[in-house]
Amino acid sequence: MAVLTQKPGGWRLKVLRASFLTSTIIFVLFPLYWMIITSFKTDRELFADKQTFFPKNFTWQHYFDPIEGIFSANNPFVGFFVNSTIVAFASTLLCLTIGSFSAYSLARFKMRGKRNERISFLILTARMLPPIVIVVPLYLIMQQLGLLNTLWAMLIVYTGFNLPFVVWMLKAFFEEIPESLEESAMIDGSSRFMAFIKIVLPLAMPGLVATSIFTVILTWNEFLFAMFLLNNTDVMTLPAGISTFITQYKTNWGALTAAATMSILPVLIFSFMVQKHLVKGMTMGAVKG
């Protein structure tokens, strides 16, 4: 849909465009590159006066050293990773299930007056809350429920805080699907709910995929709630866990960058695999939302 590129641009414009693009790509990728190579440098090289753009003595010590490495038996990193995976997938599933019902309801059933709009806005308000406002009360709720320091707490909180986003995204996707399809199914004797399950959901599959990608990523990356609600090392998720590696007197940058690298690896692979859905998801969700 290259609406503007049909015209032959002058060479000056081309050069300008190419250099803007190149510098953007360098700006975007350099921090990542720096993080990754730092995790492969020896401590001595890391602290040296003369910086190196590629590790002189390439080392795996920050990953596999039996004492200091993040994959060593006494390092909690693997546990963080497992916890994040569980929470991210479980809360995404829960969110999508609950969210798709509500989104469908908002997309299809017209309520009296402006109630649809009002409820949609109300749901969105939940996303405007600065997490810091509610984290202390949430701590108390979770304590009362006996869920403090468990992944259940995170599951509930993340489901709740991703719901507004999921509902808005999915609502847009459902609105794209012509209502006549369900109507014909219903004339054939199917119930409304089954029509939704059988007809609408499969058609909205790209939307469900795109939405779940965003939900997984948001959950994977969340820090503030995890920092407050998880106070035992064995239940921590990645961002909260990694932040505990920043020590008082000396920061072990090697291990820290190694942990950071490993924590973004799954997101990179995952997003690469589903990248076509990312743009499509945005086209449908955010744009129509």
Binding site: D49, A90, L93, L94, Y139, T233, I246
Partner: protein
């Protein structure tokens, strides 16, 4: 549709699996509590203080049959994790590891178990100042308003890490350790050019610059408060101290206004600076061939003083304590007694920790390999502690903000301290001091 159902089934299986995982772990908890729970939960700060003890835990578990659940946090969040928990009943941890300035809040707020209740008193092998910071109310200095002025000081904690500010200097360049700040100024003049920098400040906002400057403040005979909590930070001695502190900037690195101990340690290990005030944990790095350019060239000693005043390095001990809400106090105490025993502290020292027991600090064998222990012992003798009030972290924030502005050149010494004193006075007044 089939596809969708299949996906849904798989996902719900995953969910069920993770659900049952969680259940399993909570089942375990239930079982444990029913058979007289043998698991204690410990909240530690991440770093050598922790890793040294952590490596020896299997021995303890085998000896006593008590399981230790080990939790390690960064310094930034350790305080609020513990505090949040204590305030809401204190059930999460059975043993906490606390920085000594937290004692007024934790012990003063009645959140900790007095050790006497459990029939325990730290023995005299622990250095005296370290024992003093483990008590509440503090044995010296002003007491909180509305508190019983005759209340007996009681032990609420056991000192474990004998941290105290040390003066690091290049003994290959300076023949003698500078005794006074004046000596240091002269030495820097004399040896200009031999190292990149003369003195390195720890100037980052808040706690870093505040603790760093405390050594100057006290060694000039100044202090935060008088006997009645009146702020004395704007006294001429205090302003002198800050002026001297800022004066060292001419021979300091450019970025000191954001320096934390991390950067100082690295500048020192890289051989770029003549001297600095450094936490002793860095001494090991200085003597490590892998990480340091100055092996064998670094001297460790008492932080200098202003002429006519006393040496006054700041104490920053780490203490073990037991929350009042814990229902496993006996086991918690066994753990603390074990961790602070001579044997464990000796092993901890070998792994890079700092002991609080005189017998370990003066151990001939250890001194051969860890020459800085002598300086630590000496430092602890003359060390000073931070004002004993739960407001200290807020005071430090105000003070550390103005000091940081002074060190970044925004305001002068007098303005910084006068404004800090005003703001702190207001804070104290609001809180009934």
């Amino acid at each position: 549709m089939k596809k969708f159902l299949a996906v849904l089934t798989i996902l719900s299986l995953i969910l069920a699996a993770c659900g049952s995982n969680d259940e399993k772990s909570s089942d375990n908890d239930d079982q444990n509590s029913s058979e007289e729970d043998k698991t204690i939960s410990v909240a530690m700060v991440a770093g050598v203080e922790s890793s040294a003890v952590k490596q020896m835990i299997p021995e303890f578990e085998e000896e006593t049959g008590i399981n230790v659940e080990w939790n390690e946090f960064d310094y930034n969040t350790l305080y609020e994790r513990i505090y949040n928990d204590l305030r809401n009943g204190g059930k999460t941890y059975d043993v906490i590891f606390a920085d000594d300035p937290w004692m007024p809040m934790f012990a003063g707020g009645g959140f900790l178990t007095p050790l006497k209740e459990l029939g325990y008193t730290p023995d005299e092998d622990f250095v005296k100042t370290s024992r003093q910071v483990s008590m509440w109310p503090a044995p010296e200095g002003p007491r909180l308003p509305n508190s019983d002025k005759d209340e007996e000081s009681k032990y609420y904690a056991v000192p474990q890490v004998g941290n105290v500010q040390l003066f690091f200097y290049r003994k290959d360049i300076l023949n003698d350790i500078p005794q006074t700040w004046e000596d240091l100024e002269k030495a820097i003049e004399e040896h200009q050019g031999e190292t990149k920098y003369g003195f390195v400040h720890r100037g980052a906002r808040g706690n870093p610059v505040a603790t760093n400057f405390n050594a100057f403040l006290w060694s000039h005979g100044a202090d935060f408060f008088d006997k009645d909590w009146n702020v004395t930070l704007d006294n001429p001695e205090a302003i002198d101290a800050l002026e001297r502190y800022l004066n060292f900037k001419k021979n300091a690195p450019e970025g000191i206004a954001s320096y934390n101990s991390d950067q100082i340690g690295r500048v020192m290990a890289g051989g770029d600076a003549l001297s600095s005030i450094v936490w002793p944990v860095w001494a090991q790095t200085m003597e490590d061939e892998e990480k340091s350019e100055v092996v064998g060239k670094m001297g460790y000693g008492l932080v200098p003083k202003a002429e006519g005043h006393e040496h006054a390095p700041m104490i920053g001990n780490w203490l073990f304590a037991i929350p009042e809400g814990s229902d496993k106090k006996e086991n918690a105490l066994s753990f603390i007694e074990w961790a602070s025993s001579k044997d464990v502290q000796t092993e901890m020292t070998k792994l890079g920790g700092l002991p609080t027991r005189t017998s370990v600090l003066k151990d001939e064998e250890l001194l051969k390999d860890y020459p800085y222990l002598e300086a630590v012992h000496e430092g602890l003798q003359s060390a000073r502690w931070r004002p004993r009030t739960p407001l200290y972290s807020e005071i430090e924030q105000i003070y550390g903000t103005y000091l940081n502005r002074a060190i970044s050149g925004e305001i002068g010494a007098e303005e910084a301290l006068t404004k800090a004193a005003d703001e702190i006075s207001k804070l104290m007044e609001e809180n009934g001091y």
